[in-house]
Symmetry: C2
Subunit: 613 residues, 2 copies
C-alpha cells in the first residue's frame, strides 16, 4: 500500500478554474468591497489554507473519530489535539478570511471563504464544526444584535476566545421549530430568565474556548404559538462580569452528549437551561417575537455551509478513491483477461472503476461549481449594491433560489459519492485503514441538519419558486435557456447542450405542474413531489455549469499544444461534463414524466397497510 | 419515545403470503425430498426462529457492535454473550433447518432455510456470520470431500462443535482470486504443508468453538498460474488427534483483525498459515487444481446468503423507521399547516415520510420475493430431479441466472433502504439510540464481499446470460412476457403491467446490444455497462414479482368483506407494487436508452485527467 493514502487532498487547479476561468472572480477584485484582494491574495489564501488543512486539521481526523468526545464533571472534553488546532486556526487567521475588517477579518469574497471552508471541512469535518458554529453565531449577532451586544460579544467570538452555538431543536421540536417550549421570563434588569431543554446542539459544549455563547430560541410568556412567538436570546455558558470576563456558570447544564454514526469529534449536546432558576439571556435586538426571522437571516449562510461540507467530503472521498485506484493492482487488462500470466494492472484501468471515478468526479465538480456560483452571486450582490440595484437584486434572488438546492443536493451527493468511493476501494474501503468509510459516516448528517433535505425542498417549492412573483425562477430558467440557445450547435458539445435544453423544458413544465397543484387544491401532491423536484432542478443546474466549464475547457484545449501539460486538466472537464449530460441528466425528463402522472400510491395506502407489525 | 424501538421486528404475514399465496410452497410439502414437512411445520419453524432471533440474537446486536472483537494472546474474543447465543443456536436447532437429515438436520426446503436466515441476520448480522460461515464450509466439504473427510469433519461442523471459514482473499488477490500465492507442498503422508497469508477472513478466529476448520485455496508447486492452478484444502486451526479431538495449534496464526465500518461483532482476520514450517492441510477430494470449480459449487449458496443479509437489514431498517413514524409526532397535518395551534400529528401523516416508507416497503418486499423465488427454484429443481428432468433443468437455470442479480441488487438496495430509514428518523436516525445507523454501517459490506457487485454483474453478462445457449435468459424473459400478455388488461393493474412489458422489451433490447458488443469486438463496453444492466434486470424481476403479488392481493381483496382485518395487508401489496411500477420501473427504459448510446467518456478520459493531484 502506498504511503499517504490517508492524507487529505484537494485539487486546487479545479478551484482556480472555477474562480478565474469560469466565474471571473477577478472582475470583483481590487474594488469595493474587495479592495484589498487581488488574484495573488486569492491564490496565497487558498494555498495557505490547503497547507493548514493538511498539516493541522488532517492528522486529527481519524484520531478524533476514534477517540470521540467525552464528558467529565459536566463538561465536554474534545479529542486529543483539538485545542491546539483551535488555537492555530485563530492565530493564523484561517477563520477570518470572510470576516468583516471591522471585526479584524480579512473581508474576502464569500466564494473564497467558501473554498477555504471546503478545505477545512474536507480535512476534518468534525473539528471544523466548532469554529463554524462559532462564526455562524457571531454573524447572527452581528446582523441582529444591538451595538452594545456586538461590542460585548463579537470581538471574542470572531477571534476564538469564545465559542458559539445555535440552539433551536427541542425534544418535541425538530423540523417543527415552532413547537419550541423553552421559556423566557423578563427580569427586572431587562435581561430574561431562560428555562428549557435544547437537544442536538452541535458544539454545545467543549473545552476549546473559555466561554460558549448560545443563540437560543425561546418563547416569552404570553407570546403567540408557533414560530411567530419565538424570540432570540444570547445566553453565555458562563456569566460575564462587568469587564467582560467569563465567570461562574450561567445555569446552563450539559445534559449528555449523543453517540453518533459519524462526526464523532464534534460534540452533539443536550443542554438544560435554567434548572436552577433560569439562565440569564439577553434579547437579541430590541423587539420580542422576531427570533425566527432573525434566524432566517443566517439560514442561507448556514445552509451553504452544509453544502460545502458535502462538497468537501465528496471531494476528499473521490480523491482518496482515485489515489487508491492508481496504486492498487488487481486483474489484467480486459484485452488479456483470459491470460493468467498477463501483468496485473492498476484498477484504474478497469472500465467499471473508471465509470465510478468519472461519476464521482462529475458530481463533485458539478456540485462545487453550483456552490461557488451561489457564493459568487452573493459577492456580486454586495459589490453591485448601490451601483446597480437591479443586477444586485438579481444576484440576491439567485442566492435565495439556489441555497436550498445546493444544501440538499450537495449533501445527498456527498453520501452517494462516499458510497461509490468505498465501492472503488472494495474491501479496503470498509476498514478504518482508509478514510472513506469515515467520510461516508460523517457525511450522512448533512442531509439532516440545518433543515432536512425535505425541508429544503419545501423551502424551494413553497417559498423560493414563487418569490418575487416567480422572478428568481424565471431568471434561472432563462439563464439556462440562454446558454442552450447560444451553444446548441457547439461542435464538441452540441448534443449534450441540446439534452440540457430538453431537461430545462421538462423542469419548466414541472414548475407549472406544481403551480397547478398549489392553485388547484391538490396541495398534498406538492410535498409528495418536492424532494424529486429539487433533484431535477439541481441536476439541470449542475449539468449547465459542467457544460459551461466544458465549453471553456474545449476552447482552452484549442489553444494548447498537443504536449502541453495542462491538456489533461481540460480533457477531464470535458469528459466529466459529457458523462453527466449523458448518464445523469436524462433522468430529469423521466422524473418530470413520473411527477406529471401524479402517482398518489404513497398517500392512498392506508396507515395500517404499511406492515402488520 | 416508545419502548421497544430498538427491538428487531419482522413481518411474518408477508413471509406467509410469499410462501403460500404467491409461490405455492405447499405443492412441494409432504413429498420427497420434503416428506417430513407440512404447512404446520413451516409455520412453527418461522415462528420459532423469529422468537429465537428476537430473544437471543437481538439483544446482542447493539452491544456486539459497540464492544467489537478483541485479540488477546493471539486469539480473538467475541463480544459478551456471543458464546451463549452460539450454544443456544445449535442446541435449539435453528442452524439445522436446511441441513440434510443425513447430518442430523431437518432437511427443510431451501426457501424456509432462507427465511430463517433472514430472521437471524436481521436480528444480528454480525453474530450470524460465525454459524453462517461454518455452515458454508461444511456444505462445501459435504459436496466435495472424500467420505473419510466428511466423516471426520462434518458432524462437528454441522453441530457447532467446530467453526468453519472460507479462505480465498490474499493481499494481492481480492477480486482477482487467481493471483493467490498461498503454497501447498505435499507431505510424505499425503497431507500438504500450507504456507501463505489470507486476509479479510470472516470468522477467521473466535472463541465460540473448540476448533475452526479453514477451507483454503492454495497452489500446489508446479500448478498452472491463475484460477486453474488452485486447489482446495481443509486446514484445521488445531491439529486433530486420531480420535478426532482438537489438539495443538496447526501452525495457523492470527495476524490481526480489521477495524471496520460495521459488522463489528464479526471478526475479520488476517491469518498466517505455516509461519513455522507449514500448516497441515488435506486436499479436498482427490484431485489437485479443482479448487476453483469446487468453490463455484458453493458460490450460489454463499451469494444467496449475502442477498438474504441485504433483505434482512433492509427489512429491519424499514420496520424500525415505520415504528418511529407511527410514534413520533411533529408538525401539523398539511391541511392545517399554517395553524400553529393545530394538533401535532405522527410523521406517518406527512407525504414525504409516506413516500420514503412506501419506497422502502416496495424495495424490501420486492427483493425478498426475488430471493424467495430463487430459493424455490432450487427446491423445485431438487424435487423434480429424476421426475421431470426438463423442468428441473429450467429451475436450475433460473437459480444460475438470478443468483448474481439477487446478490448485487439486494445488497445495493439494503444500503439505499438503510439510508432512507435514517432520513425518515431525521436526527434520531444518526444516533446510536436507534438501530438504523448500525444497519446502514453493517449493510455496506454486502455489496463488496462474496464478489463485489461489479463481479456479480460480470458473472451475469459474461457467463449467465449466454449459459446453455442463452436458454436461461430466454426463459426468464419469456416468463415475464407471459405474465404481461396474460394481465395487460388487468382492471386494477393494467397500466402497471404494460409498463412492465415496456421495461421487459427494453431489457431484451439491451441483452442483444451486449451480445453485439461481445461479438463485435467492443468488449470494453461490456464491463462499462454491466453494473447498470444488472440493475435493469433486477428491476424488471422485482416489478414482475411485486405486480404478480399485487394481482393476487387484488383477487383476495375481492373476496373479503369491507371490514375484514386482512384487507390492510392486501392493500399494502397493491400500493407497493403500484409505487414501484410507477416510480422505479420507468428507469429501466431510460437505462436501456443510455446504454444503447454507448457513452465511452469513462474509457476515453486520459488517466491523468481525473485530477491534477
Amino acid at each position: 500500500m502506498a504511503q499517504g493514502v490517508n492524507r487529505y487532498r484537494a485539487d486546487l487547479r479545479e478551484f482556480e478554474f472555477l474562480l478565474f476561468e469560469q466565474f471571473h472572480l477577478e472582475e470583483l477584485l481590487g474594488r469595493a468591497p474587495f479592495g484589498q484582494w487581488g488574484v495573488d491574495e486569492v491564490r496565497q489564501t487558498l494555498k495557505g489554507a490547503y497547507r493548514f488543512a493538511t498539516e493541522v486539521y488532517g492528522p486529527l481526523n481519524a484520531s478524533g473519530d476514534r477517540e470521540g468526545c467525552r464528558v467529565e464533571g459536566g463538561q465536554v472534553y474534545t479529542p486529543e489535539g483539538f485545542k491546539g488546532a483551535w488555537t492555530a486556526l485563530y492565530e493564523q487567521g484561517w477563520r477570518l478570511v470572510g470576516t468583516d475588517p471591522e471585526h479584524g477579518g480579512q473581508g474576502g469574497p464569500r466564494v473564497i471563504a467558501a473554498l477555504v471552508e471546503e478545505l477545512l471541512s474536507g480535512a476534518n469535518a468534525a473539528f471544523n464544526m466548532y469554529p463554524g458554529l462559532t462564526y455562524g453565531a457571531a454573524e447572527l449577532l452581528d446582523q441582529c444584535g444591538t451595538p452594545e451586544q456586538k461590542a460585548r460579544f463579537l470581538p471574542n467570538m470572531f477571534h476564538g476566545v469564545w465559542g458559539g452555538t445555535m440552539c433551536l431543536t427541542e425534544p418535541q421540536a425538530g423540523s417543527d421549530v415552532g413547537s419550541a417550549r423553552t421559556r423566557a421570563v423578563k427580569n427586572p434588569d431587562g435581561s430574561y430568565a431562560i428555562t428549557g431543554t435544547k437537544i442536538f446542539i452541535s458544539a454545545g459544549d467543549h473545552d476549546l474556548a473559555e466561554n460558549i455563547i448560545h443563540m437560543v430560541l425561546a418563547r416569552v410568556e404570553g407570546a403567540p404559538p408557533g414560530t411567530k412567538g419565538l424570540s432570540l436570546f444570547v445566553v453565555p455558558k458562563r456569566k460575564l462580569s462587568e469587564d467582560g470576563a467569563s465567570g461562574e456558570n450561567n445555569d446552563v447544564q450539559l445534559g449528555s452528549i449523543e453517540h453518533k454514526m459519524g462526526i464523532n469529534g464534534s460534540s452533539t449536546c443536550v443542554l438544560n437551561f435554567g434548572e436552577n432558576g433560569g439562565a440569564t439571556g439577553y434579547l437579541v435586538g430590541e423587539v420580542e417575537n422576531r427570533g425566527m426571522s432573525q434566524m432566517f437571516l443566517m439560514m442561507n449562510f448556514a445552509r451553504i455551509g452544509v453544502a460545502l461540507q458535502g462538497v468537501a467530503l465528496a471531494s476528499a472521498a473521490y480523491l482518496s478513491a482515485l489515489e487508491y485506484a492508481r496504486d492498487r493492482r488487481q486483474g489484467a487488462n480486459i484485452a488479456r483477461w483470459k491470460d493468467p500470466t498477463a501483468p496485473r494492472v492498476p484498477i484504474l484501468e478497469h472500465a467499471d472503476v473508471r465509470r465510478m471515478l468519472l461519476d464521482m468526479k462529475a458530481r463533485v465538480e458539478g456540485v462545487r461549481a453550483l456552490v461557488c456560483k451561489l457564493a459568487l452571486h452573493d459577492d456580486r450582490a454586495r459589490a453591485l449594491a448601490g451601483r446597480d440595484d437591479e443586477r444586485s437584486a438579481y444576484h440576491k434572488g439567485q442566492v435565495e433560489l439556489l441555497t436550498p438546492i445546493a444544501k440538499a443536493y450537495a449533501s445527498d451527493q456527498a453520501f452517494r459519492v462516499c458510497e461509490t468511493a468505498i465501492q472503488t476501494f472494495g474491501g479496503a474501503g470498509y476498514v478504518k485503514d482508509h478514510p472513506v468509510e469515515q467520510y461516508c459516516r460523517d457525511s450522512k448528517i448533512f442531509s439532516i441538519y440545518e433543515g432536512t433535505n425535505h425541508i429544503q425542498s419545501m423551502d424551494l417549492v413553497g417559498r423560493k419558486l414563487g418569490q418575487n412573483g416567480g422572478a428568481h425562477t424565471q431568471q434561472f430558467l432563462g439563464d439556462v435557456g440562454a446558454f442552450v440557445a447560444e451553444h446548441r450547435e457547439h461542435p464538441a458539445l452540441g448534443a449534450e447542450v441540446r439534452a440540457l435544453g430538453a431537461a430545462q423544458e421538462a423542469l419548466s413544465g414541472t414548475t407549472l405542474k406544481l403551480l397547478e397543484w398549489f392553485q388547484g387544491g391538490q396541495l398534498a401532491l406538492v410535498p409528495l413531489s418536492s424532494t424529486r423536484f429539487l433533484e431535477m432542478m439541481a441536476e439541470v443546474a449542475v449539468a449547465w455549469l459542467l457544460l459551461d466549464g466544458a465549453r471553456l475547457a474545449d476552447k482552452a484545449l484549442g489553444a494548447l499544444a498537443e504536449d502541453h501539460p495542462e491538456r489533461a486538466f481540460y480533457q477531464g472537464k470535458l469528459h466529466a461534463a459529457r458523462y453527466f449530460a449523458r448518464n445523469v441528466l436524462p433522468g430529469v425528463e423521466l422524473k418530470a414524466r413520473i411527477l406529471a402522472e401524479g402517482d398518489t400510491s404513497a398517500l392512498d395506502i392506508p396507515d395500517a397497510a404499511f406492515a402488520t407489525v
